[in-house]
Subunit: 128 residues, 2 copies
């Protein structure tokens, strides 16, 4: 698994697009994210280049055009980010993290049910 740690906030916006569908050209990316952010094409190209230098995306040529795709999966990225967040903000205390989120967010009953189910399953894994 590549090191996915150093994706900046703006670069991440590009990555989210690429994770949803790929490969994509710079123009396609622009269309897909312009409802969220207002970046000029050059700006998007800068981000694509930086992501390539970091080996977080790759590309395949088709004639004069480049089509970009992720080299790092969303899951890998999430793993790295989860960990760094957990340690940065909570010094690694997962329970604290959960408590704080639960404290301040309003979950629907359905959400809670779903989480309880996940926890039940987890428990079984341990017991087994």
């Amino acid at each position: 698994m590549k090191d996915a740690s150093r994706i900046s906030e703006s670069e991440l916006e590009i990555m989210k697009t690429l994770w949803k569908s790929n490969p994509l050209s710079a123009n396609e990316i622009k269309s897909l994210i312009e409802h969220k952010v207002d970046w000029s094409l050059p700006t998007i190209k800068t981000f694509l280049n930086r992501l390539m230098k970091k080996e977080i995306i790759g590309y395949e040529k088709s004639g004069r055009k480049y089509f970009y795709f992720p080299l790092v999966s969303y899951d890998d990225y999430v793993k790295v980010e989860n960990n760094s967040f957990l340690h940065r903000v909570y010094d690694g205390a997962l329970n604290m993290l959960f408590s704080k989120f639960l404290e301040e967010k309003n979950l629907s009953k359905k959400d809670i049910d779903r989480l309880q189910k996940i926890l039940e399953d987890k428990k079984e894994d341990i017991d087994k």
Copy 2:
């Protein structure tokens, strides 16, 4: 509540110390964190100054010495960070966040029990 969003990673290390106990002088902070990071006193002073400019900490003078203390509470900081993390990585999908953490972390039985308790309480709040 002050805007606590723009605390950098290094500055955060200082804040953690101050949240645990305050007010503290620059030297005291140095002693308290030197087991974690190896920063020279000037470096720590830079961070303190930046935090002051951002109005995240304040100080009180006692003779020639300054004693620093937080202007932003840990809880406020956590709230802001949780939110930004939730949206940055999960586009706001709290359930996804929980699932991912639960998926990849190993919780002890006790941890799970505690979380289940929290969820139960949450549920009661809703029912009520």
